[in-house]
C-alpha cells in the first residue's frame, strides 16, 4: 500500500510545505471530483495573489485587531501552575476572541478572500458549532448569505450555538446521514459546493480538505503562534519548552505550532481518546488510524480493513472527526510533533480543574489539551515553560458537561 513520499530529500525546514502538488510528503493532495478542480485551482491562484497583496494583509490585520480583539493575551496561569507543582503554565487566550474561539481567525481570512473573488454565497460545515458561528458572524459582517451544514447529533448537543447561528442570519441544514456528526456535515457541504460552483465559496473550518485549504487555514491561524512567540519573549525573554494544543482537524494546533516548528521546542498535539483507544469509540486518527483518502486529502483516518470510514467518538463535538489535517500526519511521520490522546473523563476532570483553579470555563476541546498539561507539568522543572492553546470558551458545553456529571440544569 505504501506509496513513496514525493519529498524524500533531507529536511532543512519543517515549515516549507506543501509542495506544488499540495503535498506534505505523502499527505495532502487534491482528491476531489473533476467538477471542483477548476474551483480549487482558482482558489489557489486567488489565495497566492492575496498573500502578496498589502491591501489584503491590511484588511486582515485590521479586522483581527478591531473586530476579533487580537492580540489575545498570553496569560500566566499562576494558580494552576502552583497546584500542579511543576512547569510554568501559560494559556494563549484565544477563547477571548470575538465568538469565543480561534475559529474566527480563519473565517475572517477566508471571507476576505471570498469577497476578493467576487463570490456571493458562503457555505460551511460545523461540528461544535464554533466554526459555524464564526462563519455566520463574518457573513453578517460582510452581508453574504450563509448556509451551515451541521450533523443532527451535533445540533442536539450544541443547541446554544445553533441558536446563535440563527440569530446571525445563517441557514442551518441538519445532516442525518452517517452518525450525523462533522464528517457527514463535510460530505454534505461538498455536495452543496459541487452543485453551486459558480457563486459559492466553501469556508472549511480546519486544516483539512483539498489543497490549498490545509495551508491556507494554517496561515490564517498562524497569527496565534506568531503572537505567542512575541509575547513569550516579552514575558520570559525566551522560547517556551513545550507547546500543547488539542486536535480535531488540527487548526488551532497548527496555528500555534507552525511558527515554532524550526525552533528547539517540544510540541505535543492532543487527540480525543473518547472512551479509550482500546475501545472503538474515540477520535484519535493519528494514534488509532492509518493513512487513507477522504475529503480531498490523504491523511490518517479511522477506517476498517476495507477502507470504509469509521465513526469517531468524543465528548467534544469539535474533536469528533475521523481524520486530521495532512500537515499533522506528515509532522507525525517525521516525529517532529508528538501526538497523544486524552479520554472523555480526563478531559472532564481538566474542565473542572480549569474552572476552579483559574476561573475560566474552557471549551471541552482545549480541556483535552489541559488534561495532558496536567499530566506533564508535575514531571517538569519549575523553570520550564508550557504554553497551551486555550482555543475556546466553554459556554457552549455547559449542557454536555452537566449531562456527563449527572446534573440537571
Amino acid at each position: 500500500m505504501a506509496l513513496t513520499t514525493r519529498n524524500s530529500e533531507p529536511l532543512e525546514s519543517y515549515r516549507s510545505g506543501p509542495d506544488e502538488h499540495g503535498r506534505f510528503g505523502l499527505f495532502g493532495g487534491r482528491f476531489v471530483a473533476e467538477t471542483l478542480m477548476p474551483l480549487i485551482l482558482d482558489l489557489e491562484t486567488a489565495y497566492s495573489e492575496a498573500q502578496e497583496s498589502p491591501e489584503f494583509q491590511r484588511d486582515f490585520d485590521y479586522y483581527a485587531a478591531h473586530y476579533t480583539g487580537r492580540p489575545s493575551p498570553l496569560y500566566f496561569a499562576k494558580s494552576l501552575t502552583e497546584s500542579l507543582g511543576g512547569a510554568k503554565i501559560y494559556f494563549k487566550r484565544d477563547e477571548l476572541n470575538h465568538t469565543g474561539s480561534h475559529k474566527i481567525n480563519n473565517t475572517l481570512g477566508q471571507i476576505l478572500l471570498a469577497k476578493r473573488m467576487g463570490k456571493s454565497r458562503i457555505i460551511a460545515e460545523t461540528g461544535a458549532g464554533q466554526h459555524g458561528v464564526a462563519t455566520a458572524t463574518v457573513c453578517a459582517l460582510f452581508d453574504l448569505p450563509c448556509v451551515v451544514y451541521m450533523g443532527a447529533t451535533d445540533i442536539e448537543r450544541q443547541a446554544p450555538n445553533v441558536f446563535r447561528m440563527k440569530l446571525l442570519g445563517a441557514e442551518i441544514v441538519p445532516v442525518t446521514s452517517g452518525t450525523g456528526t462533522l464528517k457527514d456535515a463535510m460530505n454534505d457541504a461538498l455536495r452543496d459546493w459541487v452543485a453551486n460552483v459558480a457563486d459559492t465559496f466553501y469556508i472549511i473550518g480546519t486544516v483539512a480538505g483539498p489543497h490549498p485549504y490545509p495551508a491556507m487555514v494554517r496561515d490564517f491561524q498562524s497569527i496565534i503562534g506568531r503572537e505567542t512567540k512575541e509575547q513569550m519573549f516579552a514575558a520570559e525573554g525566551r522560547l517556551p519548552d513545550t507547546l500543547v494544543a488539542c486536535i480535531g482537524g488540527g487548526s488551532n494546533a497548527m496555528g500555534l505550532f507552525h511558527p515554532f516548528l524550526d525552533d528547539p521546542v517540544q510540541i505535543v498535539g492532543v487527540e480525543a481518546g473518547g472512551y479509550g483507544l482500546e475501545t472503538d469509540k474515540h477520535a484519535a486518527s493519528l494514534t488509532g488510524g492509518r493513512p487513507g483518502v477522504l475529503h480531498g486529502n490523504r491523511t490518517y483516518l479511522l477506517q476498517n480493513e476495507d477502507g470504509q470510514i469509521d465513526d469517531a467518538h468524543s465528548i467534544s463535538a469539535g474533536l469528533d472527526y475521523p481524520g486530521i489535517g495532512p500537515e499533522h500526519a506528515w509532522l507525525h511521520d517525521h516525529g517532529r510533533v508528538d501526538y497523544v490522546s486524552v479520554t472523555d473523563s480526563e478531559a472532564l476532570e481538566a474542565f473542572k480543574l480549569c474552572c476552579r483553579a483559574e476561573g475560566i470555563i474552557p471549551a471541552l476541546e482545549p480541556a483535552h489539551a489541559l488534561a495532558h498539561v496536567a499530566k506533564i507539568a508535575p514531571t517538569m522543572d519549575k523553570e520550564q515553560i508550557i504554553v497551551m492553546n486555550l482555543c475556546g470558551r466553554g459556554d457552549k458545553d455547559i449542557f454536555t458537561v452537566a449531562d456527563a456529571l449527572g446534573v440537571e440544569i
Binding site: F31, A33, E34, T35, L36, M37, L190, A195, A198, Q303
Partner: protein
Amino acid sequence: MSSGDRIASTFERLRKEGRAGLVTFVTAGDPDPGTSQQLMERLPAAGADIIELGMPFSDPMADGPAIQAANLRALASGASLIGTLDMVRRFRQNNSDTPVILMGYFNPIYQYGPSRFVTDAVAAGVDGLIMVDLPPEEDEELCDPARTGGLHWVRLVTPTSNEGRLKQVLQNTSGFIYYVSIAGITGTRSAAASSIGEALTEVRKHTQLPIAVGFGINTAEQVRETGEVADGAVVGSAIIREIENNLDESGRAKPELLDQVTGLVSTLSGGLRS
C-alpha cells in the same frame, strides 16, 4: 487496446446498429449480495449495453440521497471491495461481451493496494474504472498503474471543464468519456438535451472517443433524447430508486424486485431502440 477490448467492440456494435448505448449503474451488493449478483447477470438481456458497478463507500461525496442509501445498504449487508471483484468474476462465467466499469472512490482501493487491485480487477474481468475523487492531478495514484495494467480509465468531463482543463482531462482518458451533464451530485437535477448537445460539440473537437452522458437521466424519453446527441446514456439513481421501491419494511428485497428493476431497464433501453 487489443481486440479483446469489450468497450471498443460494444461501441462498434452500437455504431452498426445505428443507436446509442444504455449504460446502467447499480451499486455492488445492494440491497444484498445475492440479489445484486442476479440483477447484474440479468442487466444485459434487459437492455444494458454497458454495466457500471459502484464500489460501495461509506462517504460517497459526489452522490445524492438515492445512491448514498444504496452504498449504506450494500455495506450493511456485508459488501466490500473483495466482494465487488467476486461479483464481476462470477458475472464473467456467463458473460464475455458486456463491458463492466467499476465506479467509486479511491480509499477502498488505496487500502486494498492499487497495484494488487489492478491485477485482481483485470483477472476478474473488469474493463475500466471511473474514479470520482481522482482528478488528473492525482494520476500517479491509480490512473497510471491501471492503464499500464490493461484497464480503461474513463474520466468525467463536467460543465466546469474549460478548454484548457478539457485537454488535461482527456489526456489519459480511454474507452469512452463520461460527460456529467450538470454541476452537481447524482440523482438530482437534469440538464436540457439541447445544452448537452452544444457541450458535446465542444468536447468532440478534442477527442474521437465515444461519449456517454449521465447525471439526471431518469426516463426512457430522456434516454432517447440523450441518445440523439451522445453515444451512450447513463442511468443510475432511477434504477437505484426502483430497487428501493421494491424493499419490504425491514429493507429486504421483495420477490418481485428483479422483475421490476429489469422491467425498468427494458423500458429505458426502449428509448434507444425504437
